[in-house]
Symmetry: C2
Subunit: 353 residues, 2 copies
């Protein structure tokens, strides 16, 4: 019934989108109920519905409902003998850690809130966030939300994070900075990794009070305690002076702000540094990715910012971020892609006046 | 960035499913906010984001978030001049009535409840239904649910209904029945259409008390009142005698029951008829469709039965329904496909003992 031409036609594509939430939950149920795992282990032999029933104690009815749709969406295939086997897509859903992280993030953090997308756009507020709790932004709610949601959020954040990337650490320390300001330093993980990587560097973490609290509790008592300082502030509301530093690091920080906020932040940074300071801006750009699957995932993450996180930020395009940097008194010395996990690094300096 | 090979690869397919609820709401928002309509009217010229902003009073930020994901999922394309135009898929989402009905049905009836799919399968109960109200099955809740949900349910039901199909009426009356029993006759629409089509036929509608009530209020006072009788019963709990009839009609009725219930219903019908009675069973079979898009939509509808409707019924495969009919003492005289809107009609008689 299915050939590639027929599978990819406009009428079918439109129905796939109309029934997309159904396919999402069918795939998730097949994963969570252990059906994908059982099929994977059966390899090329596959399993029939009665065999799956015996093995997993799930009704033939339930298995049929799930597997028929899975068949029509390319998650499983059916052999001549009616045994089901996993397709390559099915294997990704069952085995690929990134796919798992994405599924759980959408299910536990975004699913209910996404229903408020239209409203979020019209009001420029993350109207979906109330489905998780009553906070202004998701960052304020992180420590209070239910455990499952918190776990899925952290797994997602961690997966896309640059905090432990050897490649980025090497890049940063190739210019041998002695002092570093990590703006949006979050829970201090990157600062700690810098200290481990380099025996001398002195770091100042800048972030919101809650994040600074987390960073302190992670760092205090560690051997690196004396090399790390903190500036606790809401960068949109106060512009405390930054210490003189060889490098300023902003990784996956600017994507949490609107365009005009980004300009304000970069101008503030520009005023705080001298002509020798290296500024590093690291982002995942939706239109600068190696695979269309990555572009898609990055662009889909923007919708999370809209409905759940803050209502006004998104993942940048390469062109847009370059323009924002240039409009804010900085100049791009070098642009490196790919680095980390499909990130782009902008090496900048302040423009001479 | 996008060519068909890259667009259709396992890694991307898996991410499309992981982020499927995001794509669903992006498409719906683009439709509801009037973006698709504006793009359609701009035809090949297309519209830029600033133009759309002026025309629709939606922020550039919101438009970018929506259109970037729409671009990566083939709902829109972007021209050299950065103007967006609708793709064929986008046109289906904006213009095709069936696609609209499917979208609204998933959004207003199924979206929240789908999160209870796993639970529904494990308990054989429509655990998602509580998101709409507290009833045992959705049929009991139809008149009480919120208006938007009711409207979307009825539009979906009506679209897939055979009640007004000239083709099916002609088929039924080609054997000139004088008496007809319409089991699962619902609100009486089909009975009325039969009376209009044929000046003589006498009809008995069999359904649940609530449905009979609706049918009566539709029929009483019409010119066909005297030709229509009613049997009010829950066919799973009582087996009242049926009047002798030339034909028994069961259209989209059996898909509301589990396999063992279907066997019981068909055996009961078999006991009530004689060797000359024509039994017509009409269903949409998920594996007997002209387009893969239709197979997909039918199979996705099964998941609605699981989580929202009753927790134990589904759309049949051709093989399964043939087997159920044969196991229940009926024989298939003829099988007609396609008829109506991609339906299959089984013309049956009782097997001579």
């Amino acid at each position: 019934m299915r050939d590639s031409d027929d599978y990819f036609n406009p009428r079918f594509e439109a129905q796939k989108i109309a029934f997309a939430p159904v396919v999402f939950h069918v795939a998730l149920s097949l994963r969570n109920l252990g059906v994908l795992d059982a099929l994977r282990k059966s390899r090329k032999l596959g399993l029939s519905i009665p065999q799956l029933k015996r093995q997993l104690q799930i009704s033939e009815y339930g298995l049929s409902v799930l597997l028929e749709l899975a068949l029509l969406t390319g998650i499983v295939e059916q052999k001549e003998d009616a045994h089901f086997i996993l397709t390559e897509t099915g294997k990704y859903i069952e085995l690929d850690p990134l796919t798992k992280v994405n599924f759980d993030f959408i299910n536990d953090i975004c699913y209910k809130g996404l229903a408020h997308l239209e409203e979020s756009i019209l009001k420029s507020k993350p109207e979906g966030l109330k489905e998780l709790g009553h906070w202004e932004t998701i960052y304020q709610g992180l420590s209070e939300m239910n455990q499952q949601a918190q776990k899925s959020w952290l797994a997602f954040d961690h997966y896309y994070s640059t905090d432990s990337s050897p490649e980025l650490l090497q890049f940063l320390f190739s210019s041998a900075p002695k002092t570093l300001v990590d703006i949006g330093g979050n829970d201090g993980r990157f600062a700690l990794n810098c200290c481990k990587h380099n025996p001398e560097v002195q770091i100042t973490i800048v972030d919101l009070p809650g994040q600074i609290q987390m960073a302190k509790s992670r760092i205090e008592g560690s051997p690196y305690d004396s090399r790390i300082e903190y500036i606790s502030m809401d960068i949109l509301k106060e512009n405390k002076p930054l210490p003189k530093a060889d490098a300023v690091w902003m990784s996956q920080f600017l994507d949490c702000f609107s365009e005009s906020e980004v300009r304000d932040i970069l101008k503030y940074v520009g005023r705080q540094i001298d002509l020798n300071t290296n500024v590093y801006i690291i982002e995942t750009l939706w239109d600068q990715q190696e695979h269309p699957a990555s572009s898609f995932s990055v662009a889909a993450t923007s919708v999370y910012f809209t409905t759940m996180a803050n209502g006004n930020s998104k993942m940048f395009s390469a062109k847009k971020l370059r323009a924002l940097i240039n409009e804010s008194g900085l100049q791009i010395i070098d642009e490196v892609f790919p680095i980390g996990m499909s990130h782009t690094l902008f090496h900048c300096k302040v423009k001479p006046v």
